[in-house]
């Protein structure tokens, strides 16, 4: 795929969402959440398209999108690792887990591996504090982590992706 095509997104995919929510006041965050589900991130073109259809200004939409940590503006990897940085995880050594991920994948918060397989995002609390330290990968939660355990999980996922 060439660069120009990469940056173009199919805005038609947004139609069902816009048909349902564009006229419902207060739905901007919901629309953005759907947008991210569709494209994996919030593409700039989509922002303008949403602006046209909802009547909100692009400045307001960008303001909302950049306020919430859920929204991303670049594509993420196949596996999105949400590493919990909550209190219980902190007290139980979440830093060592972050180090292990850095060691294994070479990525820090907000980064994606070169092969596009893994992205890392630090989150405030996943609410599984008794199993700290915890991480969530594509909505699956992994608890009682140790650096070795994390490495194994990541290697398994990589193998799974290669086989697929």
């Amino acid at each position: 795929m060439c660069e120009c095509q990469k940056n173009k997104v199919d805005l038609m995919l947004l139609e069902p969402t816009l048909a349902e929510y564009a006229a419902v006041k207060g739905s901007l965050i919901t629309i953005l959440q759907h947008t991210q589900e569709i494209y994996g991130y919030i593409p700039t073109d989509a922002v303008y398209h949403i602006a046209e259809r909802t009547g909100e200004t692009p400045a307001k939409i960008m303001g909302v999108a950049t306020f919430y940590s859920q929204f991303r503006f670049t594509a993420v990897g196949k596996y999105l690792i949400l590493l919990c940085k909550g209190t219980a995880c902190y007290v139980n050594g979440a830093d060592r887990i972050a180090e292990a991920i850095l060691d294994e994948l070479g990525i820090r918060d907000g980064e994606t591996t070169e092969d596009g397989l893994f992205s890392l995002s630090l989150v405030s609390c996943l609410g599984c504090c008794s199993l700290a330290p915890v991480m969530m990968i594509n909505e699956k939660t992994y608890g009682s982590l140790t650096p070795d355990k994390v490495r194994q999980i990541l290697r398994d996922l990589r193998k799974e992706a290669q086989q697929a």
Binding site: Y48, T57, P58, A59, K60, M62, G63, T66, F67, Y68, S69
Partner: protein, 674 residues
């Protein structure tokens, strides 16, 4: 509408239901500070400056949005509210990346607004330029000739290539204005009936007298010498400052209402007590007119002079005899003036004896350079150990050879004698230009250990009631002329307040400063400074004409247009800095990371400087609520939040048109109308 009764700072106030505390206070002339509130947009409550205390409320209330209720007892300046405001301002300033004023103005001891007058010169408006400079400095042409210009050392153009030639620009504009018949003259306030005596007609005395006169006081300037001007006349040689220039500026000061009496010496012609009795206040600006002695054996021999004594004799057209071989001791500007004057008087061999090296010399670099061009010999790393004479007259200087040791308190490497190593220099005279002292004979104000008059740094008050002192005669002693002028100008304000019954000491205003490196200017076009030619050194040796003729109008405009305009366009109107000074803040204690910001961004008719943005949100809200456009938005969250315009250029241009409301609402200099 129902009536609400409350007290604000003890004052009974009446408001109506639905009014905020701030609205009512404002109507009663009680000013509650705020940065983010404007009546035409909705309450926001971001800045935290409008907090007030209400008796019985556990929390501070935001005046901008809290509706007044019956029976409130509001204090707007209570300790708790003031502390919250102060911290808010300190925090804002710790994240504020902008220069209130340019580093040139900060470096100028007289706080002259270099950037503004340089800009006027660039625009070809010397009249306005002189008006601006005379706000702080009544002798711009004279100072333009002689100032060692600390401003240029701090000029940000240093980070690009070379500084702006501020002194030459000042000299050009002031000279151009002096040549006009209708030159700028200030307005004088109505007479106050108060009388002020200023003793000493040098730059400090002239300045104090000028500004006090403009404030409407009846000022008498008393000078012991036959003419006004002090060291500018009797210390600075003619080739550096033509005396007709000085005369013209002194005439302008006289025209501003200053009564001048020459040839009157305190203690000789009138006692200090009698002098004081004539006035409501007295300003001492008597300068430092005694040369410091060399402090080595033989210094009382004939042919050994003090530097300023020698220069004065030349100025009075009765030069002291110097012979063919002249040694000047010292490395400062007086030493340069003395050696170059000696050359012009026909001395064949002129030596400057200096105990350190050229790098440590306090004299201005171009003075040293020009002295070398004119044939002066520098004897670095030597110091007179003894003056040897013959028939009571100096004949030989015995020089101790020195070397540089460890750095001293001033950071310069201190000279250390090389034991047993001496040189000998045959001379006809020795001029000691190693320092000046105050001669306060006849004046009974308290002196410090160095013999200088003790004056308070902020009030300029001496130990005597109603007697103020400024300039070289005070505290630390002699400094450059512009420093004395700065003190005198500030003292004029203090004396004025004193004469009005309540002395207000001067205070250095807090200003925001940017810390920049060459990288910040990497994209600037390189424009070397405009060079001017000095007269041929050989020709200079033979007369007392100026070394150069200064800028032409075209050169001055070209040079002035190099200015980077570091100082903020909004300094005079900035609400942030006004509040910052009102609450005497110290943001340096919260120094930390500043928000990253893009360089200036242009949006149709405005230019934005993110570094100065305090996120009050007014531009965003005004664009939304008043202009109805919604082109500006807050981007990001928390500390890293920034204001950004809509990023699709075409739509933005069409929508933005030229409403300018955002820039008008901005309480700082973050937005500038183009």
């Amino acid at each position: 509408m129902s009536e609400i009764k409350l007290t604000i700072n003890g004052l009974p106030c009446v408001g109506s239901a639905g009014e905020t505390i701030l609205q009512i206070a404002e109507r009663y002339g009680i000013h509650i500070p705020t940065l983010c509130h404007k009546e035409e947009v909705q309450h926001y409550g971001a800045c935290g400056l409008c907090v007030v205390e209400n008796e019985g409320s556990p929390k501070l209330l935001r005046g901008c949005s809290t509706l007044a209720t019956d029976g409130m007892a509001i204090q707007t300046e209570g300790a708790r509210a003031v502390q919250a405001r102060k911290i808010a301002l300190e925090l804002l300033m710790s994240d504020h990346d902008g220069d209130c004023v340019g580093p040139c103005r900060l470096a100028c001891p007289a706080e002259t607004d270099c950037q503004s007058y340089v800009k006027q010169v660039a625009l070809g408006n010397t009249h306005e330029a002189v008006r601006i400079v005379k706000d702080k400095l009544p002798l711009p042409a004279s100072i333009g000739h002689i100032c060692p210009h600390p401003c240029e050392k701090e000029c940000r153009r240093n980070l690009v290539e070379e500084p702006i030639s501020i002194a030459l620009i000042k000299r050009f504009m002031s000279m151009a204005e002096l040549k006009k018949a209708d030159r700028w003259q200030p307005e004088r306030s109505a007479p106050t009936g108060k009388r002020v005596g200023v003793i000493g007609g040098g730059p400090a005395g002239l300045t104090a007298a000028y500004y006090l006169s403009l404030k409407g006081h009846d000022v008498t300037l008393t000078e012991q010498m036959p003419q006004m001007g002090g060291m500018l006349r009797y210390g600075i040689p003619q080739y550096r400052l033509p005396k007709d220039v000085l005369d013209a500026e002194i005439a302008d000061i006289a025209a501003a209402g200053v009564r001048m009496e020459n040839g009157v010496k305190i203690g000789r012609d009138i006692s200090f007590a009698d002098y004081r009795a004539r006035f409501d206040a007295v300003v001492l600006a008597i300068g430092a007119w005694k040369s410091s002695p060399l402090g080595c054996p033989g210094e009382t021999l004939d042919g050994v002079y003090g530097g300023i004594d020698f220069l004065r004799s030349v100025a009075l057209h009765d030069p002291l005899p110097i012979g063919k071989n002249v040694a000047i001791v010292g490395g400062g500007n007086t030493a340069m003036d003395a050696c170059r004057t000696a050359v012009r008087l026909g001395a064949e061999n002129v030596y400057v004896i200096y105990r350190r090296t050229r790098a440590e010399m306090p004299a201005a670099a171009d003075e040293i350079e020009e002295a070398i061009e004119e044939g002066v010999n520098f004897k670095f790393l030597t110091n007179p150990a003894e003056l040897l004479g013959e028939d009571g007259k100096v004949k030989t200087v015995k020089l101790q050879v020195m070397e540089l040791g460890e750095p001293d308190a001033s950071g310069r490497r201190s000279p250390v004698p090389v034991e047993g190593k001496f040189e000998y220099l045959d001379v006809d005279c020795v001029i000691a230009a190693i320092g000046q002292k105050t001669d306060s004979t006849g004046i009974d104000a308290e002196l410090n250990r160095r013999g200088n008059i003790v004056a308070d740094a902020c009030s300029f008050l001496t130990s005597l009631e109603g007697v103020f002192a400024v300039g070289d005669a005070t505290n630390g002693g002699a400094d450059i002329a512009i420093a004395a002028i700065g003190e005198a100008n500030r003292a004029a304000d203090v004396v004025d307040s004193y004469l009005h019954g309540a002395l207000v000491p001067c205070k250095k205003p807090f200003v925001s400063q940017r810390y920049v490196t060459a990288a910040d200017y990497a994209d600037r076009e390189r424009k070397p400074r405009v060079q001017i030619k000095n007269r041929d050194a050989q020709a200079r040796r033979g007369d007392f004409e100026p070394v150069n003729t200064g800028f032409t109008a075209e050169e001055a405009m070209r040079e002035a247009s190099r200015c980077l305009e570091c100082g903020c366009h909004d300094y005079e109107k900035c609400t942030l800095i006004r509040h910052a000074n009102r609450y005497e803040i110290h943001p340096e204690r919260f120094e930390g990371e500043k928000r990253r910001h893009d360089s200036e961004k242009r949006l149709v008719v405005i230019e934005r400087d993110q570094g100065k943005c305090i996120l009050c949100g007014l531009c965003v809200r005004v664009c939304n609520e008043v202009a109805g456009k919604g082109l500006l938005g807050l981007i990001g969250r928390g500390f890293g939040t920034v204001v950004k315009p809509e990023f699709r250029e075409s739509a933005a241009i069409a929508g933005c048109a030229d409403c300018r409301k955002c820039a008008e609402a901005c309480p700082t200099g973050a937005m500038k109308l183009l």
